[in-house]
Amino acid sequence: MIPRGGTTAAPESDRELTVKARTQRELVTRRFLRHRGAMVAFAVLFGILVLATTSIGVAGLAGWWGQDYRAAGQVVDAGRPTLDLLPSFVDGDGPAVGAHPLGQDDIGRDYFALTMRGTQRSLTIALLAGLISTVVGVLLGALSGFFAGRTDIVVMRFTDLVLSLPALVLAAVFGRTTGGGAAVIALMLGLIYWTSMARLVRGEFLALREKEFVEAARAMGASPWRIIVRHILPNTVGTIIVNATLTIAAAIILETALSYVGLGVQSPDTSLGKLISEYKDAFQVRPWLFWWPGLFIVAIALTVNFIGDGLRDAFDPKQNRVRD
């Protein structure tokens, strides 16, 4: 394989022979960094994260945005956003942020502060739920698929049981009894969403355990645990990552649904879903109350999906469009 446009200034004659040895980690990082969509998405998500944490502060630390998301105030200009990106020669006031760039809600709370708080909460819940469901799903799916037989029957019937429970009702009941903290909601969502992951991973394991490389590992004296972790799991990374990103997006949506029926994050705390559901009726007259949190939800879900795509491609050794 001839290095294409290699940085090594090798003479033309030994070009073909200069093959730089790279470790697997270097290759994966490299492929990820070269994935344009993923890098853009990563930058956007990182930007959202920084904006949400630094603006109103996090964990008791003060942010640079002076207004508190809990503080009510006087509603100015029917709570219209003061953010104006159009310069003065086009339409008037010129690029300006104003006092309430995203507007104000009914009782005069700054909507920018509220949206930032909601973003913090929604991100925490979604990522945590994604993590929990992935860990539980991969673990159960792997055990079920690898050991098959009786283990498989037990785990899969349990999965069916969890699947048959109405997720919303379950989450609502738990949310009610535990008071609706973000961590509790994340845990619940995670414990509901692992089923699809478990089934997918089980399917992959059932297929992969029959491959000769698994037999070869056994013939070398590898333990079942090692075969699962080192030999089979890396081959399921694509499925796991894609499903995890879908779960994260779905968790944001379900959290929205929970908040919509009033069982999600409880006031005065807020989440993006809660903001949308609270102002669903104002959509006709004050659409910004709906669009801003909606924009953040879409941005988070999209960027997570793109990053997932990038990671999947980066872990796949057959993706060699980035080969230098």
């Binding site: 394989m1 093959v19 040895a21 790279r22 470790t23 697997q24 290759l27 491959k211 000769e212 490389f213 037999e215 070869a216 590992a217 056994r218 013939a219 070398m220 004296g221 590898a222 333990s223 090692r226 030999h231 890396p234 081959n235 990374v237 872990f315 050794p317 057959k318």
Partner: protein, 358 residues
């Protein structure tokens, strides 16, 4: 390459060739001994998993493998060759019989106790596409035996792997490549390098070349032979291609429905096959010479291999054998000597020394 003699043409085969000179014939030098080996896979039915039968994949094998020789194991699909290979490497546990390796009974050793033994018995797999983990680099694949067995400190693994790659004719620079970047033949060599890593005494090769095209087959077969010479390896080679087996083996065992029907020195088996089944197999080997192809009598076996769920009684071949008599249906023929280093299980052997059927 000599063409297998046409069995039914009753060509005087000359004196049965004594044990091949390259095969160390000393009886005391047995590396692997198999007696009465059985593998019955249970067939279960219903909710309670009641056993309703068993697939008798391997049903009583007796043979020995001598140190430094190559034993070829041939037979039709489904005759239990692969199961035998997996039993010898103890990837599965036999349901009866015993396997003795270097005087140690390994028949029922636990996986933990088998671990050190894995250094001495290695396996080469049939499919070079499925036998290498697509997510592991060549370095990780060939180096895995060292890591698993802990025989080398971490910093010595890479040079050792690169030596192995050189040994099987690959470049040490391939260390960080992935399997999909190689051709079938190269991949099979990676498999060979992996099997060689721990310098095993016995290598069981399950159809090592059947997935490769003919020109590559020769490369891999020759590589196996060179390595045998260099490291004094012992091979059990499972194959269905009789030409390949003839080329590489010192002795050949023919299997039919989970049993060995004939086991003999290579030349003796190919020149004077005793079991009708062996004759039939040999007559099916394609001949490159059209004249000779037209001359010989092709033995066409009727019907399919009977089900291993319910094999025919006594001689298992009697349902398809053109020589079958009443005795074949009632008395199972034992493996008996019919020449020097030549055993066959038949009441009416083809080329018996005294030409006298029992």
């Amino acid at each position: 390459m000599t063409v297998p003699k046409i069995p039914s043409a009753a060509v005087p085969a000359g004196t049965p060739v004594p044990a091949d000179a390259s095969a160390p014939g000393a009886d005391g030098d047995r590396l692997l001994e198999v007696t009465g080996l059985q593998m019955h896979f249970p067939v279960t039915q219903g909710l309670l998993r009641r056993q309703v039968g068993a697939v008798k994949a391997v049903d009583g094998l007796d043979f020995t493998v001598r140190r430094g020789e190559t034993l070829g194991l041939v037979g039709e699909s489904g005759c239990g060759k692969t199961t035998t290979g997996r039993l010898l490497t103890r990837l599965i546990e036999p349901s009866a019989g015993s396997i003795t390796f270097e005087g140690v009974d390994i028949t029922h050793l636990s996986q933990a106790k088998l671990r050190p033994l894995r250094r001495d018995i290695q396996m080469i797999f049939q499919d070079p596409y499925s036998s290498l983990n697509p997510r592991h680099t060549v370095g990780a694949i060939v180096g895995a035996p060292f890591r698993l067995q802990g025989t080398k400190p971490a910093e010595e693994i890479k040079p050792a792997v690169q030596d192995l790659l050189r040994l099987v004719g690959l470049s040490p620079e391939h260390y960080n490549r992935y399997p999909h970047e190689f051709s079938g033949g190269q991949r099979q060599r990676i498999g060979v390098a992996r099997a060689l890593a721990l310098r095993p005494k016995l290598i069981v090769a399950d159809e090592p070349v059947s997935a490769l095209d003919v020109s590559i087959q020769a490369q891999v077969v020759n590589l196996l032979e060179d390595l045998q010479e260099e490291f004094g390896l012992t091979y059990v080679i499972i194959a269905h291609d009789l030409s390949v087996v003839r080329h590489i083996s010192d002795r050949v065992a023919v299997m039919y429905l989970g049993k060995i029907v004939e086991i003999a020195d290579r030349n003796s088996l190919y020149e004077t096959p005793q079991h009708p089944y062996t004759s039939a197999l040999l007559s099916a080997v394609p001949l490159p010479d059209p004249d000779r192809r037209h001359q010989r009598d092709r033995i066409r076996l009727q019907g399919d291999v009977p089900s291993p769920l319910n094999p025919p009684p006594a001689c298992r071949f009697h349902t398809r054998c053109w020589k079958a008599k009443e005795i074949c249906r009632t008395v199972e023929p034992p493996l008996r000597p019919l020449g020097p280093d030549h055993l066959a299980a038949c009441h009416f052997p083809e080329n018996a020394p005294d030409a006298q059927a029992e």
